[in-house]
Amino acid sequence: MTAGWVHHLIIAPVVLPLAAGAFMLLFDERRRALKATISLVSAILLLGIAITLMSLADASAPGASVYLLGNWPAPFGIVLVLDRLSALMLVLTGILAIASLVFAMARWQRMGPHFHTIFQLLLMGLNGAFLTGDLFNLFVFFEVLLASSYGLVLHGSGPLRVKAGLHYIAFNLAASALFLIGVSLLYGVTGTLNMADLAQRIPSVAPEDRMLLEAGAAILGIAFLVKAGMWPLSFWLPPAYAAAAAPVAAIFAILSKVGIYILLRLSLLFFGVEAGASSGFGSDWLLLGGMATIAFGLIGVLASQAMGRLAGYSVLVSSGTLLAAIGIGNTAITGGALFYLVSSTLTISAFFLLVELVERGQDTAAAVLAVTMEAYGDEYEDAVDEEVGLAIPATLAILGACFVVCGILLTGLPPFSGFVAKFLLVASIFNPTGLGASAEISPTDWILVALIILSGLSALIAMTRTGIRTFWASLEGKVPRVLVIEVLPVAGLLLLCLLLAIQAGPAMRYMEAAAQSLHAPQNYIKSVLAAPRAGGGGGESR
């Protein structure tokens, strides 16, 4: 084993947050500084590990790095698989986690018990879902992240959150039931749960069983579409995200991308070009559903009066664009979609944080805070005195600048990464085989391009309207008191978007390489099924 300890890092994104979360349970709620430190250190370590893993994944391409849990060979034991896509998602999770935690340290962590523990468990679920190579294991990690998200959506309490949380939980529990039905149908037909093994067996499924297989895959897909927020399944999303506390909503921005990630991975693995009779199964549904979601999202963006809901509907627009891109499913557009995924997740996360800061001076937020204070009265009152850090001067100017940048990013105007992302998408819809080669452009492609551009326009209109109403209206409401550590994460995320636009070349090379290995799943399958067990003598893992 030459790779040595680096190879063992693959399990770290799951174990580290679990250990940190469990460790924090030992301390009393009052030792917030300690808990926040542990939590933040864990998140920073996670980001470091994720970046290391990214270079590992890049180095071991075109295959994938496989970690055999329990040292059983692949179809029998559960495996963790690291390739470029999962490494990318890990890095994104790490970035968002740090931003949310820093933001929460100012005041939100005091609004309810066990914030940091639940947050770490959410990170564990996210990382596990991105790494696992086994369908049932995916279900378990999915439930871990959902259970912690149920806790987090209720963080801060209050009737509004409990009501939105109730709908969110009921909807996702029903979706989990569908997940199980889909998984067990796939198992019933193929007799395996390992994703690579499944991909290998699907082409040779008997014709009479094929309908059952496709039914299973479709039911499984619905469970992920609920999470991703495809149109008829998405009515729970904007209220739940808008009602959640700001740092929670910021990390939730990647929760809907988990559904996207799994759909992208499974549809290309199971129903790629080599899947025989089932090749391309469901891609039309994804394309049409994605387009419907963009349309619904852009109407929602236009109709939103509150900024929180505007952000919630922006999540839908982003999901819809990605779903449609997966539905088209050629290598060029997948690369563009990955870039869009990173850019839009960072943007929406920053926007959710910003919304809370801006609304703090307004009545709506004051009402929510009042409710929160009612529920957590005593704890909050003495919390005001011990607020740490400096309140920044020229608050409104800085918030306004961040708001403008968010608007530019959501709209997709230069010079930020939103423009690059949308340009890549539109360019690869028109030129699926690369520039210069002419290709037939179907009517659906035209509609999709129109929708992508219209969604930018609607974001521009909505953001301008909200911005004028918030920043240019007479200043009767008091100027919100904002701390430096609350603005830093927002500015940091937005700067990352700028960096992504400046470094679009190297970033895009990585995304394209990731897309190419997704579209050629043989390497993935081969490296999972041929993964060597850790050495015979003294090679025990850990």
């Binding site: 009737p159 409990v162 109730l166 009921a170 029903a174 989990s176 199980l180 067990s184 019933g188």
Partner: protein, 113 residues
């Protein structure tokens, strides 16, 4: 036996979905529980239905998989039961919180007028 299992799954799912669509939080939670029972039975059925076959190896017929029941769905069901139990408990807490904060057991937190 197949018919009985199929009917049981069907009846549980149908009742579960009906209850899930009702406006009272307690009905929703019972509906979700019924659906999770149906799903557990369904996972069992996906490992094929057999009577009297052991899921773990016994001395008599080691090596002949035809003598055994598929143990994997049983392990899956066990996990699913634990998870759905925990989720029901969690949902129950949210239900009580909602009842306490809004004073009604309607899922929307207010009675329809």
């Amino acid at each position: 036996m197949e018919l009985i299992v199929a009917l049981a799954i069907g009846v549980l799912t149908a009742s579960g979905i009906w209850l899930l669509l009702r406006p009272r939080t307690f009905q929703v939670i019972i509906g979700l529980s019924l659906i999770s029972y149906a799903v557990n039975l369904f996972i069992f059925a996906m490992g094929r239905l057999r009577l009297g076959a052991p899921p773990v190896l016994v001395d008599a017929g080691v090596g002949d998989p035809g003598l055994y029941d598929d143990p994997l769905p049983q392990a899956l069901v066990l996990t699913a039961i634990v998870i759905s139990f925990a989720m029901t408990a969690l949902f129950l807490v949210v239900l009580l919180a909602s009842r306490g904060l809004t004073g009604t057991d309607h899922v929307d937190g207010r009675e329809r007028r």
